[in-house]
């Protein structure tokens, strides 16, 4: 169960895994996520959005960035290893219909969860323009997959090492200012990026869907850890989301909540790195 079939290092800190998970592969829809635990004892539950799936082969694809102990352990897995626990699909699927002209924005690792949504929107007949943003060329992932799922792709990097120099918001503004009709924007990436995208679209009253990645424990509505204020009411990202109307999300509150365990997460990761024995560590 949950066996890793392929492993690709997409950039220094970004890894792509294909995992045997036939039930999830068959059932998942764009926008949904899984929760996994790397090891039997001691491991935490971490949510990751499904980047792709193949129902026939019975596989799902996860693309993730190493940010702490659990993602480092996951990155240390090799082909043939198995992930201890894998549960999903979780969360509500993206609402897909033919809106007309859609702009899909993926920032950094957010490109991975954006990909299946672009795919589904294109499948529904939309004209899909994707904007991919990264700090630098080496950190840009899944360009080829997004190309297939889009009618047009615009690439921006902070340092100008690839595509246009600037932020995803610059590219979006250009599209809007050029007078191109935009019916819906989908934005997935760092909270600050999604907030800025919403600031661009709000005056133009362009419907903007964002996918939130708050801290979760169970992922089934049971604990409320992932809660966020949307339109003044508390919503649970795991069961009410992960996608919401970006113009109604309290991004500032959400970003503060995401920092709850920064110190403890660093402590945990530092201990892990000081051991240097990867995910086969039994010395604790």
């Amino acid at each position: 169960m949950n066996k890793i079939l392929t492993r690709n290092q997409l950039s220094e800190n970004v890894v792509k895994l294909t995992i045997e998970a036939p039930v999830i592969a068959k059932k998942r829809k764009a926008g949904q996520f899984i929760i996994l635990r790397t090891h039997k004892k001691r491991s935490e539950r971490i949510p990751l959005t499904i980047a792709d799936a193949d129902a026939l082969k019975g596989t799902i694809t996860l693309v993730f960035q190493v940010v702490g102990k659990s993602t480092a352990e996951l990155a240390a897995f090799q082909v043939g290893d198995s992930i201890n626990d894998l549960v999903g699909p979780l969360g509500k699927a993206t609402h897909i219909e033919n809106f007309g002209n859609v702009v899909c924005i993926g920032g950094g690792i957010g490109i991975a969860p954006m990909h299946p949504i672009a795919q589904a929107l294109k499948g529904a007949g939309n004209n899909v323009t994707s904007i991919l943003g990264a700090r630098t060329k080496g950190l840009l992932v899944m360009e080829e997959e997004v190309n297939k799922a889009s009618d047009k792709v615009i690439i921006v990097t902070d340092d100008g090492s690839y595509g246009e120099q600037g932020f995803v918001t610059n590219a979006l503004e250009k599209i809007i200012n050029d007078g191109q009709k935009v019916d819906v924007v989908v934005a997935i990436g760092p909270a600050i990026m999604m907030k800025m995208v919403c600031k661009v679209t709000e005056p133009h009253k362009i419907k903007t869907v964002v996918s939130l990645n708050t801290i979760m424990v169970d992922g089934t509505g049971m604990c409320g850890c992932c809660r966020v204020s949307v339109d003044g009411t508390t919503q649970f990202v795991c069961v009410d989301g992960p996608e919401f109307d970006g113009h109604k999300v309290d991004f500032d509150g959400m970003m503060k909540r995401q920092s709850t365990y920064v110190d403890l997460e660093k402590q945990s990761y530092d201990i892990y790195k000081s051991h240097g024995c990867g995910n086969r560590c039994t010395c604790k």
Partner: protein, 471 residues
């Protein structure tokens, strides 16, 4: 040695020895040590063996209480556990977490003049006796019927249904959303009240009985109920629990350091955050913790906070101690451990610092007015009585709604206005043919044993349905 009833009644009730409060607040080990064999026999001897025993009628799963107590008094412990397990497959759990004082023990005739027989302690003793012996007897199972049953949720209701139907010869698969079995017994009830090793041992017993468990299986998401039927399951039991925490909807509730009790307890119990960083899941390490609520979950949260190292732990409750829904024993334990009770207070807002971490809880003082619908006196705020307490962690333990995943994904399943699944109180039948439901998903947040009682009734009706296919 034969004693007269009068002589038996003179024997004082035997209390279990416990870890002293100053020691136990520094560890997560179980609080009572349990009876020794001699203590159990002595306590069992107090039972006068009523001709018409009232205690049994107080037990939602109808354990033959006088019989197993007599067997303990006779030191026939193997027979005693067999008696208990005839109707209760989770005795080590029930002996610990059932509110016996309002169920079987309240009916005990000895309680009229003296103190009731400690039925719960004896149940716990006999279950522990068998577990320690490491030879758990597997009851006889009827011949395989060939019928397939799906149980959704491995909490107390689901485990009871699974055990009962397996004994009747049906093939039962239990789907559990989390990575460990037990439901609220695993994520909610702390180690110091219900050691997880005991829970695992009872689950292993069910596995040996023939129950198939599938963890990491979220029904409603992975499979719809109709897909389970298509997979060949002929009937389904929904025991998905009260898994959606309520918040107070007051300002500051999303500050860092503010938890639902479910989250606080899940981190500590299910994920083992009390042993961070040896376990990966973190939890706030706090100095001053306010727990809002007056139920068992509030007591569990407060006592967990103390064990996680908090100096001051407050229970903040809007009514008086009289109205607290928590068991008296839990309130007593909490007080012994230095939990401070701030009664007749209601939080109005939470205040945070620049980094968005909670620093203060503002409360209003309350007084009791006329009784409300629940029969309890309604708390009425005293105008202008606002005051603040310093906190760096707040835990909201004001109850849970039903978990939405199955109802949301099953349009033909009827729910009430609170979102609980509607089920017949005799048969646990829902509005959807072949689907039964019980426990907190039907009752709202109730007790472990009531959930098990519903599971027992559902199992009977499901067996009937499998035989007749009549709805």
């Amino acid at each position: 040695m034969t004693l007269t009833p009068a002589e038996r009644m003179k024997i004082p009730r035997k209390n279990m020895k416990e870890q002293p409060p100053e020691i136990r607040v520094k560890n997560f080990k179980e609080v009572p040590y349990g009876y020794t064999e001699d203590e159990a026999v002595e306590e069992a001897t107090r039972c006068i063996g009523c001709k018409v025993p009232q205690c049994v009628s107080g037990c939602p799963v109808e354990i033959d209480i006088p019989k197993f107590i007599q067997q303990i008094a006779d030191r026939d412990f193997d027979a005693a556990i067999e008696t208990v397990k005839k109707t209760n497959l989770l005795p080590a759990v029930c002996g610990r977490v059932c509110p016996q004082e309002t169920q079987c023990e309240i009916k005990c005739i000895l309680g009229k003049k003296h103190t009731p027989v400690a039925i719960g302690n004896l149940e716990r003793f006999i279950a522990d006796y068998e577990r320690k012996k490491k030879e758990i007897a597997i009851p006889k199972i009827k011949a395989k019927t060939g019928h397939k049953v799906a149980v959704v949720g491995a909490g107390p209701a689901g485990l009871t249904v699974a055990g009962d139907l397996t004994k009747m010869g049906h093939s039962v698969t239990v789907f559990e959303a989390l990575h460990r079995l037990g439901g609220v017994l695993m994520y909610g009830i702390p180690e110091f009240r219900l050691p997880k090793e005991i829970l695992e041992s009872e689950a292993t017993f069910l596995e040996k009985l023939g129950v198939e468990f599938k963890v990491n299986s979220v029904i409603g998401m992975q499979y719809s109920l109709d897909e389970l039927f298509e997979e060949g399951y002929e009937t389904i039991f929904l025991g998905t629990g009260a898994g959606l925490p309520y918040f107070m909807n007051i300002p500051g509730e999303n500050l860092n350091g503010v938890y639902s009790a479910n989250e606080y307890l899940t981190r500590s119990n299910l994920m083992g955050a009390y042993d961070f960083p040896n376990n990966d899941t973190p939890i706030a390490s706090s100095k001053n913790v306010a727990v809002v609520g007056g139920g068992n979950v509030a007591m569990d949260s407060a006592r967990t906070a103390k064990r996680l190292g908090a100096e001051n732990v407050y229970i903040v409750y809007r009514r008086s101690e009289e109205e607290m829904p928590a068991r008296k024993a839990e309130i007593h334990h909490a007080k012994e451990e230095g939990i401070q009770f701030n009664i007749l207070m209601n939080p109005t807002r939470l205040i945070g610092d620049d980094s968005s971490w909670v620093t203060k809880m503002e409360c209003l003082k309350m007084e009791l007015g006329e009784p409300d619908n629940s029969g309890r006196r309604r708390p009425v705020p005293i105008k202008g009585s606002e005051f603040q307490i310093d906190v760096d962690c707040a835990v909201i333990a004001i109850g849970n709604g039903p978990n939405p995943l199955v109802p949301h994904n099953t349009p033909d399943l009827e729910t009430n206005k609170w979102g609980n699944i509607t089920a017949d109180s005799e048969t646990q039948k829902t509005s959807k043919e072949g689907v039964f439901a019980g426990g907190d998903i039907v009752l709202g947040a109730a007790t472990v044993i009531l959930a098990m009682g519903e599971g027992r009734r559902a199992a009977r009706a499901m067996d009937e349905y499998l035989k007749t296919k009549k709805w």
